[in-house]
């Protein structure tokens, strides 16, 4: 048997222990590879995918690589420590440090290469399926399978270097650990003492970051919102390293509660677990928080889509200046396309004039009663009847309806000296926000005719504009209408010098299909990353359990002899496993809830949507999966303990 064979057999014959670890690394290679296949696809670029999803995928790739690196390193170390006795024997038999290094290196690379190969093989097999889904989501005609060297090279390169880094890091870490302890197995390592100062610091950092988050959102200050999480991150680390152990130790002094039943055993075990796994808890918390937040973003996009119709009651809106030379041509082409696609529509045409209100001294946009009624009729909304001298607010958002309800303004349109009483608000949301100003009113036809003078200092052409609204019942099928005009508007919007076209166009259906595609792709990305993460975290706990099995078995054997019943054993196992499983999640849940609450405040303010329902659904699903996973692991765990 050569040295290489020895390393090989070490892995193969421990395959049961390595299985969970191997699977998790295979899966992360797989997901990484599939993403790179999409990223390097010749037909895919920003215009197809959207900047948001593209960025999302790159971020997902980076997180995957970093998380794999950490996860693999930590698992490897836990496993090597469990094998300390075995290495002790080898050292006694005369293995030297260099051979030890080579052994670890060979073993790691063996697992590494196998999982890279298996991961890429499965990844390649699943790519076609993945492309099919993406094609459906993006409504592409074709997303053909292709073979290029880039995705392979990227995946192999990233993961090979990851495994190499891990192998070297593990060797160094193990060397430091190993002295006389070898034959005795791993005893408790020297741990940094818990200090009150850091305990308080951890808690106050977290509280500060929470408060800071709310203040940042209130002020809508981006710099604030970026700095605050740093406090949160540091605070989280101290929370696990000092605050929690400190609080639990304090609780330990309360014998009245602490010496109750087996909480003596479980509490001390929990402290031990937390202190020994600070880094793992910390990273899992961060990644979970990130996952939860992404789900939050997902939820906001999803609620944006469900609330889309409410926010965009009109199918298409075309806004034009009076002197727009393309006006007739564009409207004709839009109508033409609608007819070609056999979509029924109702066109309303508005001439909106700007006037100065004597009440606010600001400009106000004036709509004509009969024109508005034309649109309201086609929408099936209640019509407006105004007599001379009366006016009505047009709500610029849902909230505005209730805000303006009991608001009465007596004003005069200065230019033409038309006195008005504005004492009501139209009870429905009609125009999407970016078309009409927040200061828009409807006046009666009698008053409207009287408007003869334009806004002071301008001509009629400058102070008025025309609005064409297409009310299309099947608005979701509008994605092929007005694409050319939309592209012009889109291009001009990106112009840093300002918007300079004589028209503006919005197609709710086209935007909707884009939003929907982005949303679905985003969901796909997040789901895959969340799956990798879930699998890794679970396999890690399982793996640690395996490494620790001998000690745990002995531990429970002693307790069983002392008269621990089966029921008590189960409860004790619960108390032992639950912190490992749920503590980081709980902290992450609190973190992300706080962030999402403030995010919700911001969203409600900016785009008038709320994400509470979607976030709750997302969280409940995740928690259900986690609980299911927990019982799976717990079942195996108890089986192993009892098999003794």
């Amino acid at each position: 048997m050569t040295f290489r064979q020895f390393a090989y057999r070490n892995v193969i014959r421990n395959s049961r222990i390595y299985a969970a670890f191997f699977m998790a690394s295979c899966f992360s290679v797989l997901v990484f590879f599939i993403y790179s296949m999409l990223l390097f696809h010749p037909n895919i670029d920003e215009s197809v995918l959207g900047v948001m999803s593209l960025l999302g995928m790159v971020v997902a790739e980076i997180i995957l690589a970093l998380f794999s690196l950490f996860f693999l390193y930590y698992s490897m170390n836990a496993f090597l420590e469990a094998r300390a006795k075995e290495f002790g024997v080898l050292f006694h038999l005369g293995m030297d440090e260099r051979q030890f290094g080579r052994l670890i290196f060979l073993e790691t690379m063996l697992i590494g290469f196998t999982s890279i190969i298996v991961g890429i093989a499965f990844g390649f097999a699943f790519t076609r399926f993945f492309f099919m889904i993406v094609r459906e989501i993006l409504h592409l005609d074709e997303l053909h399978m292709y073979v290029a060297w880039e995705p392979f090279l990227l995946t192999v390169g990233v993961f090979t270097s990851a495994f190499m880094v891990i192998a070297y890091a593990s060797i160094v870490t193990q060397k430091e650990r190993r002295t006389i302890h070898l034959l005795r197995g791993h005893d408790e390592h020297k741990q940094r003492p818990v200090t009150v100062r850091r305990a308080v610091l951890g808690l106050s950092f977290i509280i500060c970051s929470y408060i800071g988050m709310f203040i940042g959102v209130k002020l809508e200050n981006l710099a604030f919102i970026i700095i605050v999480p740093l406090f949160g991150i540091v605070g989280t680390y101290y929370l696990f390293s000092d605050t929690l152990p400190y609080l639990l130790e304090r609780f330990r002094l309360q014998k009245k509660y602490y010496w109750r039943s087996y909480s003596v055993i479980s509490l001390s075990e929990t402290i031990q677990t937390i202190r020994a796994n600070v880094k793992m808890f910390f990273v899992i918390t961060l990644v979970s928080t990130l996952t939860f937040l992404t789900i939050g973003v997902l939820a906001s996009v999803s609620s944006y889509t469900t609330q889309y119709e409410r926010l965009n009651p009109l199918g298409m809106v075309y806004k034009s200046t009076i002197d727009n030379p393309y006006e007739q041509q564009h409207i004709a082409s839009l109508r033409n396309q609608l007819e070609l696609d056999r979509l029924s529509y109702n066109l309303s045409r508005f001439t909106v004039i700007q006037q100065t209100s004597s009440y606010t001294k600001y400009e106000v946009e004036v709509f004509r009663e009969s024109e508005i009624n034309h649109l309201l009729f086609s929408l099936g909304y209640p019509l407006v009847t105004l007599s001379q001298g009366e006016a009505m607010f047009i709500p610029y958002s849902e909230d505005a309806i209730s805000d303006l309800q009991n608001y009465t303004v007596r004003t005069v349109l200065k230019e033409n000296s038309i006195p008005l009483v504005i004492d009501s608000v139209y009870p429905e949301f009609i125009f999407p926000g970016n078309f009409v100003s927040s200061n828009s009113i409807i006046i009666s036809d009698e008053d409207f005719i009287k408007i003869e003078q334009p806004l002071i200092g301008t001509t009629f052409e400058q102070s008025a504009y025309r609005l064409y609204t297409f009310d299309v019942p099947q608005w979701m099928e509008l994605e092929h209408i007005g694409v050319a005009i939309d592209a012009m508007v889109e291009q001009e919007s990106a112009n840093s010098l300002g918007y300079d076209l004589p028209f503006y166009f919005e197609n709710a259906g086209l935007n909707y299909s884009f939003v929907l595609a982005t949303y679905s792709l985003f969901t796909l990305i997040v789901l895959l990353v969340a799956a990798v993460f879930l699998l890794a975290a679970g396999s890690f706990v399982y793996f640690k359990m395996y490494a620790d099995l001998e000690r745990i078995q002995k531990h429970f054997d002693v307790l069983r002899r002392m008269g621990l019943t089966d029921g008590e054993l189960h409860r004790l196992v619960d108390r032992h496993l639950m912190p490992q499983f749920f503590l980081p999640w709980l902290v992450a849940l609190v973190h992300s809830t706080i962030v999402l609450i403030s995010f919700n405040v911001l969203l409600e303010h900016l785009v008038n949507i709320t994400i509470v329902d979607e976030v709750i659904i997302g969280f409940v699903v995740l928690i259900t999966i986690q609980i299911f996973y927990y019982y799976l692991i717990r079942w195996r765990y108890i089986a192993h303990i009892k098999s003794n």
């Binding site: 010496w259 109750r260 003596v264 001390s268 069983r560 002899r561 002392m562 008269g563 621990l564 019943t565």
Partner: protein, 260 residues
């Protein structure tokens, strides 16, 4: 006077079914009376630990019957067995088996917490016991901060705290040096005399056995011999050695030498 035995073992047989069927204990009987200090000796693989496991109700006999204070463990449910163990039995192990993350004080009270004792009562018992075993100064220490002798004293305190009927010790001196062994054995014998505690000890060590009232020898799962304590420990020790030499060599071996 007719003394009722606290532990009765009647014709107990234990067979392990497996790829190779193995008869660990065969037709073994023994009685232990209250206040007795019994040693069980025998070579490796003679079934000592199996016997002890059956007495501690962790393992059930294949045939025969065990009775602890008139209770038949075989008739009890798993739950009742656990309760029986936590109230009637105390355990001392070769490698102490103290729970690493607990302080000594907490280790000692574990059996009481399992039985939901009152905290004041627990505190009272720990203080008294620690005092008599000389552990008072060590109570806040962790198991990895103390010597083997101190660890075993803690384990003994843990075995005594719930005032069990029988204390079962599995090689309690196996991991200790001679000085610490003596300390522990004197402690056990002291507890046996002053508190009328019943102790059953499995051991390899003839010196340890010489502290007992009676030594039972088993070989290959069967009863081999039994000797009682006499006035002087020295002569008792000598007699134990004599039996051991027979046990180790085997009667057949000796006679065959004579024949050739």
């Amino acid at each position: 006077m007719n003394r009722v035995p606290i532990l009765e073992v009647k014709d107990v047989t234990k067979v392990y079914e497996g790829k190779v069927t193995h008869r660990a204990i065969s037709q073994l009987s023994l009685d232990v009376e209250k206040g007795e200090f019994l040693a069980i000796m025998g070579p490796s693989g003679s079934g000592k630990t199996t016997l002890l496991n059956m007495i501690s109700t962790i393992d059930a006999p294949t045939a025969g019957e065990i009775m602890i204070e008139g209770i038949r463990p075989a008739t009890l449910t798993k739950m009742e067995l656990a309760h029986l163990r936590r109230r009637k039995l105390g355990f001392i192990f070769q490698d102490f088996h103290l729970l690493q993350m607990l302080t000594l004080e907490e280790n000692i009270i574990v059996p009481l917490t399992l039985d939901h004792y009152d905290v004041d009562e627990m505190q009272k018992r720990v203080t008294a016991l620690a005092n008599s075993l000389g552990l008072t100064d060590l109570l806040t220490k962790r198991p990895n901060e103390i010597s083997g002798g101190q660890a075993q004293r803690t384990a003994i305190a843990r075995a005594l705290i719930h005032r069990p009927s029988i204390i079962l010790a599995d090689e309690p001196t196996g991991n200790l040096d001679s000085h610490m062994s003596r300390e522990v054995l004197e402690l056990l014998s002291n507890i046996n005399q002053t508190q009328q505690a019943t102790i059953i000890m499995v051991t390899h060590d003839p010196i340890a056995a010489s502290y007992c009232d009676r030594v039972l020898f088993i070989k290959d799962g069967q009863f081999f011999n039994e000797i009682y304590k006499d006035e002087r420990r020295q002569t008792f020790f000598q007699r134990i050695l004599n039996v051991l030499s027979l046990l180790g060599g085997g009667v057949g071996d000796l006679s065959s030498i004579r024949l050739s």
